[in-house]
């Protein structure tokens, strides 16, 4: 059945596996190092040492120290935990919300569809960051506000994707078969519709995660997200901004950490997305 498409598929499989494996490896190393950061590095990420400020990178301080004498490598590693967790949760929450509401809108149609999709329209009408900053302005800066804001700003795209897919799936004969077997709406939606629409949402979620991590660091940079002295890359870049000419490492090295995680997530997400796409095509 697929003998014609076999060769190029195999070639691209190697290429995509390379991306997937290297992305996963980088993420695994970062995560592992971050979880064991307190064992790897003898310095505390928060405790200040005012006699050791603004040291350039050296063997004892790999990434140098900041204006309070804290080891930047320790802070970057500790921050990875938090940033990856926020990135993950701020994709999972909108995903769940979008999947539920989009599924209901597409499956039941009618009034539910109108109400949900007009709400989606309202949410999409706001630019992403304006929306996020607006919500944080109401709830106050901090982790909780950021979770809520990123969830509210992110769910509408998932709802759109899911609804469109459900509209196609619900016309297929296996849904009719499920109805003729007497299954209730809940069972049909959960067991027969949703499993057949998740693939495109996961593919989107993989790219969304990069965006969310960048937003997290941006918000913290602006002072709206994670608050100092908690180590977080955006917070660290903000703190180093004043020293960019005299102590380049304070801004650059946390910045590079963001870039590295972004690239790793992209590679990993692309690989996963391609595997899922091929799986759903077969």
């Amino acid at each position: 059945m697929t003998s014609l498409a076999h060769k190029p598929a195999q070639q691209s499989r190697l290429a995509q596996m390379g991306g997937l494996v290297s992305g996963a490896a980088i993420l695994a190393i970062i995560l592992l190092a971050s979880l064991m950061a307190s064992h790897l590095i003898p310095y505390d990420p928060i405790e200040q040492n005012l006699r050791n400020t603004l040291q350039p990178p050296s063997l004892s301080h790999l990434f140098g120290t900041d204006n309070f004498g804290r080891d930047i490598f320790a802070r970057v590693l500790h921050a990875a935990k938090l940033d990856l967790m926020i990135g993950f949760l701020c994709v999972v929450f909108p995903w769940i919300l979008g999947l539920t509401l989009g599924g209901i809108a597409g499956y039941f149609g009618g009034l539910a569809d109108t109400l949900i999709m007009r709400t989606v329209d309202t949410f999409t009408a706001f630019p992403f960051l304006i929306m996020v900053i607006g919500v944080i302005a109401i709830l106050g800066p901090g982790l909780f506000g950021m979770y809520v804001a990123l969830t509210l700003a992110g769910w509408s795209i998932y709802a759109r994707i899911v609804r469109a897919e459900v509209l196609v799936i619900k016309k297929s004969e296996y849904i009719l078969a499920a109805r003729s077997l007497g299954y209730g709406h809940g069972r049909i939606l959960v067991r027969h519709v949703i499993p057949n629409v998740v693939t495109p949402t996961i593919i989107f979620a993989m790219t969304d995660m990069v965006l969310v991590i960048l937003s997290t660091t941006s918000l913290s940079f602006l002072g709206l997200g994670v608050q100092p002295p908690t180590p977080e890359w955006g917070v660290m870049i903000a703190e180093g901004r004043g020293f960019i000419l005299s102590a380049w490492w304070m801004v650059t090295l946390p910045g590079l950490a963001v870039v590295l995680v972004g690239v790793a997530l992209s590679l990993f997400g692309d690989g996963i997305a391609r595997i899922l796409r091929e799986g759903s095509q077969a």
């Binding site: 296996y174 077997l181 007497g182």
Partner: protein, 343 residues
Amino acid sequence: MRDAGQPSALRPLVEVDDLTKRFGARGGLSQILGAASQRQLTAVDAVSFQINAGEILGLVGESGSGKTTLGRCLLRLVEPSSGQVRFDGKDLISLSKGDLRVARRQMQMIFQDPYSALNPRMTIRQMLSEVLRFHRICTDAAIPARIAELLALVGLDQSAADRLPRHFSGGQRQRIGIARALAVEPRFIVADEPVSAVDVSVQAQIMNLLLDLRDQLGLTILLIAHDLSVVRYVSDRVGVLYLGRLVEIAPTAQIFAAPRHPYTQALLRAAPRPDPDRHPAQPAIAGEPPSPLNPPPGCHFHTRCPLATARCKSEMPPLQTVSDGHQVRCHHHDLALLNPSPR
């Protein structure tokens, strides 16, 4: 428009009375603009017939003739606009949701497209166990044995159980669809063009399977098809639909030997025959079927009928009994009989 007595002594299992389904633009803009913009499509137009227990009734019609809608109305997958469907003497249309769920154990559907009829994310075992568990057909411990039994019944290998639908051919998928329908041990099955999407070589196998199952399990089957050749060898009786109306219904031998409706005759002439010396002299039916949104008045077929007269354009012919078990909806069915029979 009640049926005038069936020839068979068997009790009808399914009785359809004046069943009508209209589709109309509902809600939204058209409602705001008023009823003037409403266009109604009568997919099934006052159809009445009966199916006896253990019988296979073939139902034939062009695409758009309402045969799929009719089949779905019988199972209440589509809510009929009016009319009655009685199953084993009980009125199906007035059933509550809970009673309908129970009734659904008695009647199942086999679908047209085996590629979209199976949930691509469920293995055959998951699919069948869900049915068995949901309807409490057997105890959890007995489920594997029942699945093996079902697979054997439709002629599939036992190894099929743990695979996903994408690993099967069209014919095998159709067998899986049949197994799923049989899982609830139904008495009545609506087979909606079960072979139109599978290879010709597999069509005969599936039809034979349906015949075997009828004999083995005593099933009653409504077999929907778009051409007569499919239903010829398996149906006990054949009904012909045209634009939502039942135009002729008769025992199979009779309808092929002496069709009384000009449309049935044309359908028979149009059937391809494997005879290279026989050239199609003229198109069997002139023109396209009229739009069901705007059907012609009187007899729907008058626009394409060789026998049409002024009366046909204004007056809808009633379904008349012309011989035992043979009913036809035509003013000129006597003339039609004189018309050279195609076979």
